[in-house]
């Protein structure tokens, strides 16, 4: 066995647990998970069947943790995994899986296939079977601070501009603030309006907040690539800053996997519960709405639909807030058939959007077909979402298909219509 394969099996041996064993033993090869996966529904290629994407993991489980599997391996009935195979699976595990979690909701025997893929990525990552794009993003996050290589001076610059345009101060490194606001690189670069919107809302509600100069980045490429050790390093920056500044809450931005990383994976990565609470910005806004502190001066008139980002809604548990907020600000909100936890992925989650090979980009464009049909069926020109990654992936696709759909961030939309 090569050194890298040795690493793969060692790592997978660490991560395989009772749920994974139970899931593999329960699978009856019914193939229904394929119907839940947009990479299958849009391509019709059976290799994108979710459970097939974890086949090497199954074999490691079988060969390492079942007596019969060990015997099968001995007599050659169960082939050991190979490097070539993992090379082949790289596309299935990264390019064509966004960890969207739809299959986990549909599997009739109850398998959480997304969980299995997340674990399988641990093994893929340690042996370097990862797409260059995600590897690069991870390196930049660890070495520079963010997946896009953004450094604090650039962020400070954006903040300054926001202060200028809003006329409000945006506190930095202020100990004792209620909220530590996190951002995602994409927002900083592509949607700085989010920062302005947030500043306005905080000031209006009279709630104190701060940014941390050493922990502004909420995203965590470590969990996307599937390297928990690296993810821990990244998430620790936020935990350290939040606990140093003694904030009560950490505000997770409009970014899907960032929420999963900080809210759900974080405590498990650092091995202890937090001394603060993690709140998603929509939960925060919905809290204000419920208290009557979120008054609109007018409403967005044009018909629109909502895109629920997988990691915030289906995998994150922020189920009710988005619709409640959109109804607050939109006059003509049209619910789609598969919404909330049943929503279809944008096609670029779980790190996929960082993969820039031609094949991956073509596949993403194809996978967007399901969203395209949703937009067309609703007959709208506006789609609102609350994940910067979803937004950029879908904008690319909309360009690709030359559609005239406009994408808006929910927080930004709310801020625009907020009572002065």
């Amino acid at each position: 066995m090569s050194a890298s394969l040795e690493k793969v099996t060692q790592t997978l041996k660490e991560v395989i647990d009772a749920p994974i064993a139970s899931y593999f033993e329960s699978c009856v090869h019914c193939g229904l998970c394929a119907e839940a996966c947009l990479f299958y529904t849009e391509t019709g290629d059976p290799k994108y069947t979710p459970i097939h994407k974890v086949e090497p993991l199954r074999r490691v489980y079988e060969q390492e943790y079942t007596l019969l599997g060990r015997l099968k391996k001995m007599v050659g009935l169960s082939r050991p995994i190979t490097d070539e195979e993992l090379d082949q699976w790289q596309e299935l595990v990264y390019d064509s899986c966004t960890l969207c979690g739809r299959c986990s909701l549909i599997c009739p025997v109850g398998n959480d296939i997304t969980y299995m893929i997340r674990k399988f990525r641990e093994g893929m990552a340690v042996s370097g079977h990862v797409p260059d794009g995600i590897r690069g993003a991870t390196q930049r996050t660890v070495e520079i601070g963010g997946p896009m290589g953004l450094k604090w001076p650039a962020v400070a610059n954006v903040l300054k501009k926001a202060e200028e345009s809003t006329g409000l101060t945006i506190p930095v490194d202020q100990a004792g603030a209620d909220y530590l606001v996190l951002l995602s690189s994409m927002e900083i670069v592509n949607y700085p309006e989010y920062i302005e919107a947030l500043a306005k809302i905080f000031h209006k509600a009279g709630i104190s907040f701060t940014l941390a100069s050493d922990a502004f980045e909420a995203t965590n490429a470590g969990i996307q690539i599937g390297a928990s050790d690296i993810a821990r390093v990244i998430v620790s920056r936020i935990v350290d800053a939040a606990e140093r500044l003694k904030v009560k809450y950490v505000l997770s931005p409009e970014c899907g996997h960032a929420y999963t990383a900080i809210r759900w994976e974080g405590p498990n990565l650092i091995g202890r519960p937090y001394q603060f609470e993690v709140v998603h910005v929509l939960e925060f806004l919905d809290g204000l709405r419920q208290k009557g502190a979120l008054k609109m001066k007018d409403k967005f008139a044009e018909p629109l639909i909502l895109h629920d980002p997988c990691q915030i809604v289906r995998r994150g548990g922020v189920l009710q807030a988005p619709e409640a907020l959109i109804r607050e600000v939109a006059e003509n909100y049209i619910p789609v058939a598969d919404q909330q936890k049943w929503n279809w992925c944008c096609g670029g989650g779980g790190g996929a959007s960082a993969i820039h090979t031609d094949e991956a980009e073509a596949l993403r464009a194809k996978a967007f077909g399901v969203k395209k049909r949703q937009i067309e069926a609703a007959g709208v020109k506006t789609m609102v979402t609350f994940c910067a990654n979803c937004r950029i992936v879908m904008e690319e696709a909309i360009d690709h298909y030359e559609m005239d759909t406009k994408l808006l961030g929910l927080t930004e939309l709310l801020a625009e219509h907020l009572e002065d």
């Binding site: 395989i16 647990d17 009772a18 749920p19 994974i20 064993a21 139970s22 899931y23 033993e25 329960s26 699978c27 009856v28 090869h29 019914c30 193939g31 229904l32 394929a34 119907e35 839940a36 299958y40 019709g44 059976p46 290799k47 069947t49 459970i51 097939h52 943790y65 079942t66 007596l67 019969l68 986990s104 909701l105 549909i106 599997c107 009739p108 025997v109 109850g110 398998n111 959480d112 969980y115 809210r263 759900w264 994976e265 974080g266 405590p267 498990n268 091995g271 202890r272 519960p273 937090y274 609470e277 289906r314 995998r315 994150g316 548990g317 189920l319 058939a337 598969d338 936890k341 049943w342």
Partner: protein, 219 residues
């Protein structure tokens, strides 16, 4: 060995052996699977109505929205043959007698004509499901020897049982013996094939339901 001796063997030593291997396999496999343990989730939980392991154990028995339309054969065929199997296995008076004999539990049987009909419907559904497995690219792609084998191992007891009752092909005694033998084969292979899902699906649903309930998502 004549057929009555064959029948007596499958009713006696054969059954003893099969039940023994089944229990051995089940204990072994369940320990093997569930002893791997899992980490406690340290993230602060979010509570939501209808989100728990137990909820998911039950909820997963219903088709998720839209899926019935997407894969009608899988769902309808699956429902019919699973429910049919339950009716035939637990509704036929001689089966209940066996269960009473082994466990002391008993309940009233269903009319044999109804069980007979259920057996035919079950077999028809199983054939449809098999054809679907051959026809659907995904199912065919996923299928291994085990899938065909377990289909056969599940189908044969229904077929032989029905043929025994209907007096088809072979004398009743031989058919009954073959029926019992096929059930014994089923019992022996169950713990070591995907048929184990009969038991592990509860664990799987519960794990999935619990993990997602921790995040406040009823799945």
């Amino acid at each position: 060995m004549n057929e009555l001796q064959f029948l007596t063997w499958v009713r006696g030593p054969g059954l003893d052996l099969a039940v023994g291997l089944f229990l051995l396999g089940m204990a072994w496999r369940l320990f093997e699977i569930y002893s791997l343990g899992r980490k406690q989730d340290l993230a602060a939980p979010r509570h939501a109505a209808g989100a728990s392991g137990l909820h998911t154990v039950f909820r997963r028995s219903m088709p998720p929205p839209g899926m019935l339309k997407r894969s009608p054969v899988s769902y309808l065929g699956g429902y019919i043959f699973h429910i049919g199997l339950v009716v035939v296995v637990f509704g036929f008076a001689p089966h209940i007698l066996l269960i009473r004999n082994l466990t002391g539990l008993s309940w009233p049987g269903l009319p044999s004509q109804f069980v007979d009909l259920a057996a035919v419907v079950t077999m028809a559904a199983m054939v449809v499901v098999l054809v679907d497995r051959i026809n659907k690219p995904v199912k065919r792609f996923l299928s291994t020897f085990e899938d065909w084998f377990t289909w056969m191992v599940t189908f044969l007891p229904v077929l032989t049982g029905w043929m025994a009752v209907q007096h088809l092909l072979l004398p009743y005694t031989t058919m009954l013996a073959l029926h019992i033998l096929s059930v014994e084969v089923l019992l022996v292979v169950l713990p070591f094939t995907k048929l184990l899902h009969v038991f592990t699906l509860f664990g799987s649903r519960w794990f999935n339901g619990k993990a997602n309930a921790h995040k406040g998502v009823p799945v």
